[in-house]
């Protein structure tokens, strides 16, 4: 995969060698954080609808969370075209699962593991799917919430997040998450996390969706905006403690 008949001119060549056009080197259109938590009846997940093109907040209507089969929900950050590719893989997976036409169906654990194998395999080929994924679901009363990223690192937990969410949302969740959150409390908690991300993540946009998955099924909310307050003293005089800063 890495070797090619066309030799690269030099180590710092500005010409992309032919081999490199065959694999992902960097992402182009990206989504930012996804945050997910377990609550009493299932899983709650939130993500904004932004698709950035480098530093430009180019697309503002991108759905970054999608249902998978009957029992699962996937949320993605990172390269959006790779997310669309992953959705195609999952669609095919679910199709074949249904074709067996017997009582069994793939649950969130199985889907998460499948995705882990796909992501790790692509990483090994030096051609990653440039995403961090959150996979949540409920099957036979069992709640499941896991994450996997472009290098194949995967784990399950009561609350997970991608990207900036790991640094800004997880600490809040570590303090305030508890078992058997009600739906309302869960949404409030997620919104608290998303608000912090909105203030502090430059690629966040104020248009988000919250999704809910329970034994009954998936509900994706209509897009909405969070209330923000820029009246805080820290925002009014941001350089008061650091002269010369801007």
């Amino acid at each position: 995969m890495l070797d090619s008949e066309v030799p690269a001119t030099s180590k710092n060549s500005s010409v992309i060698s032919e081999a490199d056009s065959q694999r992902t080197l960097y992402p182009y259109v990206t989504g930012t954080s996804v945050v997910g938590i377990k609550y009493k009846d299932g899983i709650l997940m939130a993500a904004d609808m932004g698709g950035s093109y480098g530093s430009t907040l180019r697309y503002k209507g991108v759905e970054r969370m999608k249902p998978v089969g009957k029992h699962s929900l996937i949320g993605a950050s990172g390269e959006l075209s790779d997310f669309q590719e992953i959705l195609r893989y999952l669609d095919e997976l679910m199709l074949y699962d249904n074709l067996w036409d017997n009582g069994n169906s793939l649950g969130p654990k199985e889907v998460h593991n499948y995705l882990t194998r796909v992501m790790y395999n692509r990483r090994n080929q030096f051609n990653p799917l440039w995403n961090s994924l959150v996979l949540g679901g409920v099957k036979n009363g069992q709640k499941y919430l896991g994450t996997v990223n472009m290098i194949g690192v995967h784990y399950e937990d009561n609350h997970v997040a991608t990207g900036f969410g790991n640094h800004l949302a997880r600490p809040i969740l570590r303090d305030e998450w508890h078992e058997n959150l009600s739906f309302e409390d869960g949404v409030k908690l997620l919104e608290k996390c998303m608000r912090v991300l909105l203030y502090r993540d430059r690629s966040a946009v104020n248009k988000l969706q919250a999704t809910n998955i329970t034994e009954e099924g998936v509900t994706i909310s209509q897009p909405y905006a969070l209330k923000t307050s820029w009246n805080l003293a820290a925002f009014k005089n941001p350089t008061v403690g650091a002269e010369g800063s801007w």
Binding site: N102, N104, N113
Partner: protein, 275 residues
Amino acid sequence: MFRNQYDTDVTTWSPAGRLFQVEYAMEAVKQGSAAIGLRSKTHVVLASVNKANSELSSHQKKIFKVDDHIGVAIAGLTADGRVLSRYMRSECINYSYSYESKLPVGRLVVQLADKAQVCTQRSWKRPYGVGLLVGGLDESGAHLYYNCPSGNYFEYQAFAMGSRSQAAKTYMERKFETFTESSRENLIKDALFALRETLQGEKLTSSICTVAVVGVDESFHILDKETVQALINEFEIAGEEAPANEAAPQDQGGDAQAGAADQGPTDQGVAPMDI
């Protein structure tokens, strides 16, 4: 069955619409030593008669663990059975690797059946000469399937295959309605009784049979000789009493009714796989 001009290739149909090579393969299953299976809501028991070639040799292995939740008993060409068991183990472990969960039994048997079907439609292959009793558990409960060389498979509450299996079938036909709610111990005892029927009066001891169990919270495993012998002693010592208080024949006398033919289809005109 008699030789005829349509039985040379598996890819030749007879004018009556039969594939004789496939039917001959099913004959091979009937010639093997008996194997039986029964299931309740929570357990599946497989048992087989182990005949050794001579006193000097070891017994033929007929029951294989495929995964923690699936086991298989074979009858017929045991070499073919061994190869198919390896395939089943491979499928189970590959599924576990990709999905981190157990391969549903229903999917495994369909894959097996499709594999067997391929051999009935290639001129350079021959059908597998082995019948497989696949017992296992998955999220939809306990299952027992029979896969035959024709590529068909069926789900059963109880089944017997191999030589003199009709005697076991007769016994199980009388008792199968009790199996669903049966306890684990009674299920194993019924399996041993059914197995004894196939022995035509020969004494049932743990040295000539193999018993295996799989259940909810119980991985598939073969019971050791001591356990099996203890269970045999329990119901033989009980004499006339069978587990469900049914009169059982003295074991020396054997079961006179077991003379019913189980060699080949009774109706020569009907292709076995059409049943």
